[in-house]
Symmetry: C2
Subunit: 450 residues, 2 copies
């Protein structure tokens, strides 16, 4: 691997954008979160620009305090299946919770998306932070650690189901009437602590061997799960140093699980704001910040802390002491918010605004943003980035029109995706079956973009 | 309602066709069950011909004895979401089991499909006959009656979730920052015998009010469920008289549940085989019958009876006595098979062939088939038909090219779908919300095709 390599980008598809009030921004359609034409337009623009995958976050519980985007949005598998037909090459990754779904169903739906898209499916494995979710599924919300134990077994089951059929199991010989080769069928027969799943799966093996596993928990336990199973990790990007340290930790975890550092690709989420001048970028940021009142910012902050009511505290006093609040939900996020507030001596107001409408790490001219992305990348802060723009329409346009040309001029970006599958785009080899002879069918990675 | 009205047709999308060895027929691609281009081609041809909906059956358990089509096929929601983009008007109905899924997830996925397709989603509610399914979900297979009790509560929950938001709940007022109207949000808060579901659903109300409910169980209990909830029923079509009697029973059940006979549309499944002459149609049938050996026919029959091994009986002796076998699975089907064998004095061989490769009720020239369909329709044997061709490619081509023109000439078919949603296509009014003022928002049916 040379250091002067192409940087792969994924793109969050999240309606109007990551900012809670992005729907109010004039560059977006206000119904963006439920507007298929908008989603298709964004995905096609991204694909034409060589973005390697679209990424759909998700949640399974809302109440009237939820942010607008969460109240009314597409379900990931359905919208990604629609995008599979509306696009040709871009990867299609969606979030599904291992705490509130069935492995047989999820294995199958992802395998079906993979078949439909010709090998472009990815799954962002989450354990579901939001405690209220349990109320939609008639059961108790498992604790943070238990959720990860469930996820571990769940992934083992799903990957086992995905290997139910060898790649060449379906012979379909019309003359003899032989449809499949019995020796190439593997019935899972899983009996575990949380799941009993007989199998086999009722769909062929994936064009990419198996769909790509993304993982998005950042706690120690989350990193352990990523090291064991993940092909790619979606993470926060608080600073270059922290992101580089996180990257090393995940790769170290992969090595401890008998894998190689390059087997798991780290994608910090970034939301660049770009202007033709630095001042124009600042103006864009201020326009975004002004979409929000302080009360909305407090409510947004409260979401991470079990909808804690922050209006009870003085706005300009130091960030309050919260004990264990939120630690069973978004643990890595709440720990970081608390640590930041303490370290930088932030008030509640400053913390709420920093969380609800953060000043991005990447803001300024296209040259500045491109150079910063290259600097992070070369310093080992991730293998690529997931773009999560505060305001989707403006963010995508600016990135594609302004930043990508600079990255190209620097020799650090290519619009051509060399392969056909998401694994190809990520520079990952086709996934070998657990039933294959050791080393036999793990093909080398295609000439990689990543 | 006049008697000389247009007859609506749905079309089963089942890969190579309903015949277990349809993949061997030269008119089909052998991988039809997992071939997206084939599915899109068929759906577009059907749409252009004015077929009102595509219909995807499903199952959640296979083993090496399963018929080829079931071993390797798309999952319904994903393929229907893909078809939503590949087509413009045709309805998109898929099968999902109430015994092996979560109402919150299913309500949401169907609502998302409905949003993506502009109001074309339908759900074929099944309770899952196949006992082995339990082995993929780590629980016991509920009994026939219990399955229907679960289904009843499940449908109540799903329909409640679909009414979480009033049609005009999302105001999205950029000036004031008001995204939704709190008075138009309804949190379900369901506490029942089988399900605890808080809600609300995280997606807007359906373009058609609610997705269309199909139901496909034919036992007394199944008919009761249909009478209470179904907008449409998919059923067998053993004979005109039996189908007409079944149609009356379902409509009677609807009336007993305080609905009207026209609120539930009955769709018998038919698989016409058409030739330019009667002899050509017979030849086509023989070619289809020859796709199958007697051993394959016995195995196919066994599927309905918990994979009972029928090779243990003499082939030409009368159909054996089976007691309760299969009655916890495909009850209405197994009862019918047993009754038929007894009544017609069939041997095991004859029964197996009649089940595995049945001579269709509709076979002959286009004129004959069209006239028979009209005769059934006018005699009250259903409100339309679901086409389930033994061999898909040949069946669709022959029906579209040969039969539809005759139906048109008879004034009993129109290629133009007058409305935009599946409810429009079925001649059903937009579904009113349970929170609407009585009679307020139930709009009259569009000028109906059905
Ligand atoms: C960058 C990032 C993205 C995430 N995306 C989602 C998501 O889309 N849906 C979800 O339910 N949880 C999401 N999570 C939550 C995680 O799955 C996990 O449940 C939570 O972060 C707690 O685990 P942790 O303490 O290991 O981070 C995300 C977490 C991170 C760090
Ligand atoms: C015409 C028809 C089509 C059916 N389609 C399916 C299907 O696609 N998937 C499934 O699991 N069950 C299907 N079923 C099974 C029913 O949902 C039900 O579980 C079974 O028929 C037993 O109920 P019953 O005795 O009321 O018919 C179908 C049944 C009929 C009669």
């Amino acid at each position: 691997m040379t250091t002067r390599r192409s940087i792969p980008f994924g793109l969050m598809l999240q309606g109007a954008g990551s900012h809670m009030n992005a729907w109010r921004h004039p560059s977006n359609p206000p119904d963006a979160s439920i507007n298929l034409d908008f989603a298709i337009g964004i995905a096609r623009k991204a694909e034409a620009a060589g973005i390697t995958f679209a990424f759909v976050a998700d949640g399974l519980y809302i109440n009237e305090k939820s942010i607008p985007h969460f109240l009314n949005r597409f379900e990931p598998l359905t919208v990604l299946s629609a995008l599979a037909v509306a696009t040709k090459k871009i990867g299609l990754a969606g979030t599904i919770s291992t705490s509130y779904s069935e492995p047989f169903t999820v294995a199958r739906q992802l395998a079906s998306l993979d078949a439909i898209s010709g090998g472009r499916a990815g799954w962002n494995v989450v354990t579901t932070p939001l405690e209220g979710t349990a109320k939609n599924f008639g059961k108790a919300h498992p604790d943070h650690e238990l959720r990860y134990e469930i996820a571990d077994e769940y992934l083992d089951v799903v990957q086992g189901l995905w290997d139910s059929w060898d790649d060449d199991a379906f012979v379909r010989d019309r003359a003899t009437g032989r449809f499949f080769d019995r020796d190439k069928l593997h019935t899972l027969d899983h009996h575990g602590r949380f799941f009993q799943v007989a199998g086999p799966l009722n769909i062929q093996r994936s064009p990419q061997g198996q769909p790509v596993i993304f993982q998005a928990g950042s706690s120690d336990t989350g990193i352990g799960l990523a090291g064991k199973y993940a092909d790619a990790v979606f993470t926060h990007s608080p600073s270059l140093d922290e992101t580089a340290a996180f990257t090393r930790r995940v790769k170290q975890s992969a090595i401890e699980h008998g894998r190689q550092a390059g087997d798991v690709k780290i994608f910090p989420g970034v939301g660049p704001i770009v202007g033709r001048t630095a001042a124009e970028a600042e103006d864009k940021y201020q326009a975004i910040r002004n979409l929000l009142t302080i009360d909305e910012a407090l409510a947004y902050l409260g979401r991470y802390f079990d909808h804690h009511d922050f209006t009870q505290y003085a706005l300009d006093a130091p960030f309050p002491e919260l004990g264990e609040l939120g630690r069973n939900s978004f643990r890595s996020t709440t720990d970081r918010i608390k640590a930041d507030a303490k370290q930088k001596g932030l008030s509640l107001r400053e913390t709420a605004l920093a969380v609800a409408t953060p000043r991005p790490n990447f803001i300024g001219t296209a040259e500045h943003v491109a150079d910063e992305l290259i600097r992070w990348h070369d310093a080992g802060a991730g293998d690529g980035f997931i773009l999560g723009f505060p305001v989707q329409a403006q963010g995508v346009d600016d990135f594609v029109e302004l930043v990508i040309p600079v990255l190209e001029a620097r020799g650090r970006y290519s619009r051509d995706l060399p392969g056909a599958t998401l694994r190809d785009h990520l520079g990952l080899p086709r996934k070998a079956s657990r039933h294959a002879a050791p080393g036999a069918s793990q093909e080398p990675a295609a000439e990689a973009h990543a």
